[in-house]
């Protein structure tokens, strides 16, 4: 492994790092190679009930009726849970940090908003009985037209129980950033370069599917063995949904068979815990592989329009970005991801005039959520592709174009934060060195700490 060059950060950190850059054995590796690592599913209890979901076959439909009687006739089926059983059915995961309104039902009441949405939960003595029970529930739907495109959704009739097809940020239909005057910048520019960038949803596909087992304790508490990546988030949301004090719940977990951000939504735990409370038996709710692929939240699809005003010498003097994040049917973490995307614009470049409209849009697709750098990753794909497009348009070297526009310590970013600890210049210089590319002296002498005179 290459040694970390600590000289860049000599001002801000202790330079005597002795673990970073070294190979250190994982503490859990012995458990992994012997098969002794304990994942949530390895903890089992006698008398456990298995929970299987009835799921919507439609992208968008009204629920006219749910008939659970045929399911109750299947040998081994013990109970079917519907929204009527959920103490506080409406929630949104980020309400813990003040985000609202509650836009997602634990179990839907009168409509389903995406294909695969959970409708009601069948609890049975065996997995096969629960599966058969779920096949026997009869749901009458009235199909409604779905909307799959973010820009179409912005102007379509609102399809959620309340509100708009987009998240409302402090009274605005998008998260906005206004810095300088882009119109003035475009007017002064030698070139206008505009492109559209788009991504599709990306599924994390962890090898271990999302799941948990909830076990009622003699003390009146419920212990939930889970593979969530967000134990306390889950505990607090569960307490709010179930209407119990936080200290009536205990979460056991931390060992995750692949997460990548895909296991931060609070979906399986509240229903399993509710089942455990209502039957006084352990309840296991584990996604099948098909469920993991279809209904666990993917990384959001995004669409970006980037318009740049550029001078002949490579200076970008104005950048206007319109960004759509496809949240899918419910908000989950996408409102936060969209804010993060907006704050990240216009990338690690100091551009005097910036205009960003970042929309968090609802469609009838699987709700999206966290995944490795969400809100930033697709934006960076678009921004850096745009930088290459600009370089090509001007016939400039793409590294030099980036150095000309690179942000430095002390600059003010478009969202009014002062840049500190910038390293873009040094990273590009190091990349040039390692790829055997010679930078012109003025670029080789640049520094993130101060602008050259």
């Amino acid at each position: 492994m290459e040694k970390i060059d600590t000289s860049f950060f000599s001002k801000e950190r202790e330079a005597d790092l002795f673990v970073v850059g070294e190979s250190v054995q994982r503490a859990d590796a012995r458990g992994h190679v012997t098969g002794q690592t304990q994942f949530y599913e390895d903890v089992t209890f006698p008398n456990t009930l298995h929970l299987k979901m009835v799921r919507s076959p439609h992208h968008h439909a009204l629920i006219k009726n749910i008939d659970v009687e045929p399911a109750m006739k299947v040998p081994g089926v013990v109970r079917v849970l519907t929204h009527k059983d959920v103490p506080n059915n409406w929630y949104t995961i980020l309400k813990l940090i003040g985000v609202g309104p509650d836009d997602e039902p634990v179990l839907p009441e009168d409509r389903v908003l995406f294909k695969g949405e959970q409708v009601c939960a069948v609890l049975a003595e065996t997995e096969q009985a629960a599966l058969e029970g779920a096949r026997r529930v009869v749901v009458d739907y009235e199909e409604l037209p779905p909307v799959f495109d973010v820009e179409e959704a912005m102007t379509s009739k609102p399809f959620k129980q309340a509100g708009t097809n987009y998240f409302v940020y402090e009274g605005h239909n998008c998260r906005r950033i206004r810095f300088g005057d882009v119109d003035k910048g475009f007017a002064e520019a030698d070139h206008i370069i505009e492109h559209r960038y788009e991504s599709s949803p990306i599924e994390h596909a962890p090898t271990e599917t999302t799941g948990c087992t909830a076990k009622p304790e003699g003390s009146g508490r419920v212990t939930v063995y889970s593979n969530t990546q967000a134990l306390y988030f889950t505990l607090d949301n569960m307490a709010l949904i179930l209407g119990v004090p936080f200290n009536k719940l205990r979460l056991v977990g931390g060992t995750v068979g692949g997460g990548f951000g895909g296991k931060v939504d609070v979906i399986v735990e509240p229903i399993a815990a509710l089942g455990a409370m209502l039957t006084n038996r352990p309840v296991k709710y584990a996604y099948s592989r098909a469920e993991e692929m279809q209904v666990s939240s993917p990384r959001a699809a995004e669409r970006l329009y980037i318009k740049d005003g550029v001078m002949k010498d490579g200076r970008i003097v104005a950048r206007k970005i319109t960004l759509y994040v496809d949240a899918g049917a419910y908000c989950r973490h996408s409102t936060y991801g969209t804010t993060k995307a907006a704050a990240h614009m216009p990338g690690p470049y100091s551009i005097p005039n910036v205009h960003v409209d970042a929309y968090c849009v609802y469609t009838n697709r699987t709700p999206s959520s966290a995944m490795r750098g969400f809100g930033v990753t697709i934006g960076d794909f678009a921004l850096e592709s745009q930088m290459d497009q600009v370089a090509r348009h001007l016939g400039m070297d793409p590294m030099e174009l980036r150095l000309i526009n690179a942000y430095r310590d002390g600059d003010t970013k478009a969202h009014r934060k002062t840049v500190d600890g910038a390293a873009l210049v040094e990273v590009i210089q190091a990349a040039a060195r390692q790829t055997g590319k010679e930078l012109a002296p003025r670029f080789a002498a640049m520094s993130s700490y101060q602008r050259e005179a």
Binding site: K52, V74, Q128, L131, E132, A134, R135
Partner: protein, 269 residues
């Protein structure tokens, strides 16, 4: 919900079980049936396993291969006389799956799986089908299209060993190993003095079941075995295929590249 799993010890017992158990499904290697069962199904309520029915094993006699239907793909690859099939077998799933999947089962898996069926079609193989009282022998290309009737079991597949070097195979997938077919091409071509005298071509991944590319065969027979004539004949494949869209490739793409892969299979370029 599944009520019974039977593991009969002979073919007659297997027929008896199929007759006795209601809504029964035959299971050999289990690689196709078990995912259905594990996900919950109303398609069947009992399984009749061929694992102990004595239908596995390969014998080579008088230039022909006789292959028990429950022979696994791994065991097939271990038979020295069938070495020519190894490159084709190694494109099917993974070694672990090949230790389970059987020759008979491979005939009936959903496309774009079942590459061995394309090979067997190219080899002119026949399958022996037993209904408990009678047996019939069908060409593989007929059986994969008609599928089995109620109570029927494939017991054996057989074919004449091809002349050395005459068996050709190529498979296009999304990754190098353990990939489903975009197109699978298997062929046995005999050329005398540079002219094609006989050829049989099986295609996988481009129709509801593995198919024989008769139009290509007809167009090529009697022609010079060279790039020009193979390329021209391969264009006829569109008459033989009915490609579909799936997550690996579109129908359009499959149709577009089938002639290319036929050419690559036949002349290696």
């Amino acid at each position: 919900m599944l009520q019974t799993v039977a593991t009969p010890g002979s073919l007659p017992e297997t027929h008896a079980m199929l007759a006795k158990l209601g809504s029964a499904c035959l299971i050999a290697g289990g690689t196709a049936v078990m995912p259905t069962l594990n996900g919950g199904t109303d398609e069947f309520t009992s399984l009749v396993s061929l694992r102990a029915a004595g239908l596995s094993g390969v014998s080579i006699k008088d230039g022909s291969a006789l292959i028990g239907a429950a022979t696994t793909l791994s065991d097939l690859a271990d038979v020295p006389a069938l070495g020519f099939l190894v490159p084709a077998l190694e494109t099917i799933a993974s070694p672990t799956i090949r230790n389970m999947a059987t020759v008979g089962g491979n005939l009936f898996v959903k496309q774009p799986y079942g590459d061995l069926a394309a090979c067997l079609i190219a080899l002119g193989a026949t399958a022996t089908v037993s209904d408990g009282t009678n047996t019939r022998i069908d060409p593989v290309e007929k059986l994969v299209a008609s599928r089995l009737g109620a109570g029927e079991i494939v017991t054996q597949v057989s074919f004449a060993l091809p002349a050395e070097g005459s068996f050709k195979f190529t498979k296009a997938g999304r990754k190098a190993m353990n990939a489903a077919a975009i197109v699978t091409v298997a062929a046995v071509v005999t050329a005398t003095d540079g002219t094609v005298t006989q050829c049989r071509i099986g295609l996988g991944g481009v129709a509801e079941c593995a198919v024989r590319a008769r139009s290509v065969e007809e167009a090529l027979t009697g022609k010079a075995f060279d790039r020009v004539h193979v390329t021209e004949a391969a264009q006829q494949a569109e008459r033989d295929i009915e490609p579909f869209d799936d997550s690996y490739a579109s129908a359009w793409y499959r149709a577009r590249v089938t002639p290319v892969h036929i050419r690559r299979a036949l002349i290696g370029e």
